[in-house]
């Protein structure tokens, strides 16, 4: 009897728990088993997704496959694809006219119109476009006019990229009317900025503290709204979502529906990289970005014969960045460090497929510097080869002595600490390589591994950091490849705080060292001009002007910046990173580099910058090209 009760209790408990473990989002559509399915892994919030892009949740594949910009750029190549905008015309009178595609529609079936474009830019008041533009105008339902502040007007190239950076197809005016109108009211209640005003003034209105608070309150109310279906315009609609999987189905009313050849996207939500490798090995997914350690990569390809791995340039270089707060980094010592390492070996420790770099930290990754600079200027950048004799001479000139195989300064053994983000496999490999080289060379090194980026960055940027130098991206562009992104990364956002470069203070302004108050807090570094005149320039004054330069002016300023930074030896690059992607070659009909794939599915050929293959391979990378893969038909199933 007791046994029966126990059994019954067990069954009831199990059933109750199972009942509680229900799906997080119910199905809303039918899944057609005859459709071609493309399977990916991209993580989203397991705690649920709010049905709009600005809801604060990580929406995973929805962000790339459903939410669209006016124009989409492909990372690393900057190739532009017109999506919600049919065309954007840049006029002589400092205006740009955005012509919205006639048949662009929201997933609900309603037209995507000019009001929606205005709504996006008004609710996202921190966008760079807002900063550079005067109030936007609706010409008609399908036309928007952007008037640029003529004193900060970006060049045509930048205008396109800025408009391409923003996911405009995410705020439907008719749904969020209350909040958009409130934004307009707050905006117009502010003081108008005078002509020539270069500080933060969205659409030419100066934000007061009070209005910023009102904006924030309004934005938070907007963020909290949860529409019935996900608000988007792109090639795929959200069909069902659970904690671990998501199904997106083709948007049959999409303006490029004919290009979209896959009926469904099945997405997995696996954050752990080993879990992702298992999904690839067991043929559960057809695509994955990135490289894996060589042995793992080959093992995955051996277990799943359908996969090929293509490689492409990543617009970033990895190496060492010095903490200039530490007295040890004199000019001579920094120069000596350029010669100590066999960079080919260091590259192999971090990424076997990377391209060895012999450059110092220079503000741009080698491939980008080559692409953007005038050729003669690029060729003037100093390259460093492995030469420990030269390094020894430089260190001795800096007052270092070698006693019993160990380097000393003022009679004390040199002991350095190297910080790195242990969550990044390439950087961990480089740190080990650096440790081995320096210990052999006679410099004692302590490796300081941080568990993740946040912890590492926190320790690196703090005053009197425990790190003497770090392994990091020396030069990296996070967004489109226009040089400002990379310079910002190097001088302001990440490497600037890590290098502890001097900054202008309020005192400098008060004492007349600087004439503009907005320079307070900016990097106080002067570099020699590249023309050999002996003149110098302040990098903080150069950077804000870079969006507005003509091609010729840009070449001149890039030469100044890159050659100037290279002379400083603030760091050294070991390799230009190469990334890649696993792709199911048996599923996709039109992959590039077929002849290489047939020879070896682990394709080691990295197409050179600017070549046709460079563009073709970048287009197949989901992280680089996002929804373009489908909306422009770059992925077509093999029939």
């Amino acid at each position: 009897m007791l046994s029966k009760i126990k059994k019954t209790l067990f069954v009831v408990t199990t059933a109750l728990i199972l009942a509680a473990c229900g799906p997080s989002t119910a199905s809303s559509g039918e899944i057609n088993p005859d459709d071609y399915v493309f399977r990916i892994n991209k993580t989203w919030d397991r705690t649920g997704i709010r049905n709009h892009y600005h809801g604060g949740s990580n929406t995973g594949p929805i962000e790339w496959l459903s939410v669209e910009p006016l124009v989409q750029y492909i990372r690393s190549t900057d190739e532009l694809h017109y999506l919600l905008a049919e065309e954007i015309v840049h006029n002589e009178d400092h205006t740009s006219t955005i012509k919205i595609r006639e048949n662009a529609k929201w997933h609900t079936g309603e037209d995507f119109v000019a009001d929606d474009v205005l709504a996006f830019f008004h609710i996202n008041f921190v966008s760079v476009v807002n900063y550079l533009a005067k109030p936007l105008e609706k010409i008609d339902d399908k036309t928007v006019k952007v008037t640029w502040k003529e004193w900060m007007e970006p060049n045509e190239h930048v205008k396109n990229l800025l408009l391409a950076e923003t996911k405009v197809g995410s705020v439907q005016y008719s749904v969020f009317k209350t909040y958009i109108d409130a934004c307009q009211t707050i905006l117009k209640s502010q003081e108008r900025a005078p002509i020539g005003y270069k500080d933060w003034a969205p659409f030419g209105y100066i934000n007061s503290k009070e209005s910023e608070t009102l904006y924030m309150q309004n934005y938070n109310s907007f963020k909290a709204i949860n529409p019935r279906t996900f608000m988007a315009t792109g090639p795929y609609k959200v069909d069902r979502v659970t904690q671990n999987q998501m199904v997106l189905v083709k948007n049959k009313d999409y303006y490029f529906a004919d290009n979209v050849k896959f009926g469904q996207i099945l997405a997995y939500n696996t954050p752990d990289i080993n879990g992702v490798y298992n999904l690839l090995s067991t043929d559960k997914i057809d695509y994955q970005d990135g490289l894996a350690p060589e042995a793992t990569l080959n093992s995955i390809l051996n277990q799943n014969k359908k996969l090929a791995h293509l490689k492409m340039f990543d617009p970033g270089a990895i190496g060492l960045v010095f903490n200039m707060e530490k007295d040890i980094w004199s000019d001579k010592v920094r120069e000596a460090f350029q010669y100590i390492f066999d960079r080919e070996e260091m590259k192999n420790s971090g990424n076997k497929y990377g391209i060895t770099s012999h450059y110092p930290l220079m503000g741009m990754a080698p491939s980008e510097a080559e692409a953007w600079m005038a050729k003669p200027d690029f060729e003037r950048i100093t390259k460093y080869n492995f030469d420990q004799t030269k390094a020894t001479q430089l260190l001795q000139a800096a007052g270092w002595t070698k006693v019993g195989g160990k380097w000393q300064v003022n009679g004390n053994n040199v002991k350095l600490s190297l910080g790195y983000d242990g969550g990044h496999p390439g950087m961990s490999g480089v740190a080990e390589g650096v440790s081995s080289t320096l210990n052999t060379f006679g410099i004692e090194l302590v490796l300081k591994r941080a568990a993740d980026f946040g912890t590492w960055f926190d320790s690196a940027k703090t005053e009197e950091s425990v790190y003497d130098f770090v392994v990091n991206w020396t030069d990296l562009n996070m967004s489109f490849s226009y040089p400002t992104g990379s310079f910002n990364y190097v001088l302001n956002d990440i490497n600037g705080p890590i290098m502890h470069l001097p900054r202008f203070t309020q005192e400098d302004f008060d004492n007349g060292v600087i004439t503009e108050e907005k320079l307070v807090g900016q990097t106080n570094i002067s570099l020699p001009k590249a023309d050999g005149s002996g003149d110098t320039f302040l990098i903080s004054e150069y950077l804000p002007t870079m969006y507005s330069l003509t091609e010729e002016e840009l070449h001149a300023k890039l030469a100044d910046m890159v050659l100037g930074l290279a002379t400083k030896n603030y760091g050294l690059s070991f390799y230009q990173n190469v990334t890649g992607s696993f792709i199911n070659k048996d599923l996709i009909a039109n992959l590039p580099l077929q002849e290489y794939i047939e020879q070896n599915r682990n394709v080691t050929h990295v197409p050179s910058v600017g070549s046709d293959e460079f563009y073709a391979v970048a287009r197949t990378n989901f992280y680089f090209s996002q929804g373009i893969l489908f909306s422009k038909g770059y992925y077509i199933p093999k029939v």
Partner: protein
């Protein structure tokens, strides 16, 4: 008449006071425990709150970096966006935060995520705890049953191949961490043989109802349950063995043997049943421990459990969720302890007397 009424009222009041006082006196051990539990809860809240503040890593920068990577926007834009999106004001003093947090707890609000105002501790408990309890309680059940059978046999037959094999199993399974067992199982049965799913809790392409769904859930839970059980069986077997060895010396076992009962009957009817009692208390406590989940194991199987969400909150430095989940788990443990202790006291008068 008046005096008599007053006397009657006095008698009633005295009776009430005596009864109530008697109740409180008799159950004073319980109140003492409740008092201790409340103090422990308070300390858990305080420690939970302040320890989290000592964690390295700036959540705003980390969030901005993630936004920058995901949205491919410059980091300074991402940082400005992050400050808009975050439900966190770094300018509020820690003491004010503590007061706000404690006030929320008193209202039953364990906390809300820094990053999303629609993600609360209650939501995580509702959506993720059932999955954790499902897998870990089944694993506990399986390991308990297998463990007591193994332990009972080991106690009764202390020599022989079976005992040797059982001991080897216990040593091996105990020496290897549970997550490593998980990885081994995934490699053999998921990746190489492809018999079982390697991740997740069920297949999205199924209808969410009926037996196919339940079977699919069990199919997905199979490897995690086995991985959990492999490690736990050893512990239960050893506990059972220890308890059973004590029981083997009892007169009724000798009597049963003298009566010529079969070995099987002696083990099942006399040995196992009598050895089980001390293990039941441990089982109750183990059940409370299940609420914390197993972050590593859940991560390896990509199982949407409570532990993996807790681990994610730590990874993203979501202070509010971390402290809320920690306090929730402390509450569960303390209440489970309180119940187990109180039941023990109620059942066994000796414990009650000692406590008093």
């Amino acid at each position: 008449m008046k005096n008599s009424s007053i006397n009657k009222l006095k008698r009633i009041l005295t009776t009430i006071v005596t009864v109530v006082g008697g109740f409180f006196y008799k159950t004073r051990f319980l109140w003492k425990r409740i008092g201790f539990a409340l103090v422990t809860l308070f300390l858990a809240t305080v420690f939970g709150f302040f320890l989290i503040k000592l964690m390295p890593g700036d959540p705003i920068t980390m969030f901005a970096k993630r936004l920058s990577d995901q949205r491919r926007i410059p980091l300074d834009d991402a940082y400005r966006l992050a400050t808009l999106l975050l439900n966190y004001d770094p300018n509020i003093s820690v003491w004010q935060q503590f007061v706000n947090y404690t006030a929320g707890l008193l209202k039953g609000d364990f906390g809300t995520s820094m990053f999303r105002d629609d993600v609360t501790v209650s939501l995580i408990v509702k959506d993720f705890l059932p999955w954790t309890l499902f897998v870990s309680s089944l694993a506990l059940f399986v390991s308990f049953i297998v463990g007591i059978f193994m332990g009972g046999r080991m106690a009764y037959k202390r020599h022989g191949v079976g005992n040797l094999l059982s001991n080897s199993y216990i040593v091996t399974s105990g020496a290897v961490p549970d997550y490593l067992w998980g990885m081994i199982l995934i490699f053999i049965f998921g990746v190489t043989l492809r018999w079982f799913p390697i991740q997740g809790n069920y297949d999205i392409l199924l209808e969410f109802k009926g037996w196919p769904f339940i079977l699919n859930v069990l199919y997905h839970a199979f490897l995690p349950i086995v991985a959990f059980s492999i490690v736990q069986i050893g512990g239960w077997a050893l506990a059972m063995r220890g308890s059973a060895i004590g029981v083997l010396g009892e007169d009724y076992i000798y009597a049963a043997k003298a009566r010529g009962l079969s070995e099987r009957k002696i083990i099942s009817r006399y040995l196992r049943r009598n050895s089980l009692l001390p293990l039941i208390t441990s089982l109750a406590m183990s059940f409370a421990v299940l609420f914390g989940g197993s972050p590593l194991m859940e991560a390896i199987f990509n199982y949407p459990g409570f532990g993996s969400e807790f681990s994610k909150a730590i990874g993203t430095r979501d202070y509010f969720l971390i402290q809320g989940l920690m306090v929730f788990m402390s509450f569960v443990m303390i209440i489970a302890n309180l119940i187990a202790d109180s039941l023990y006291s109620l059942i066994d008068p000796r414990v009650r007397r000692n406590n008093s």
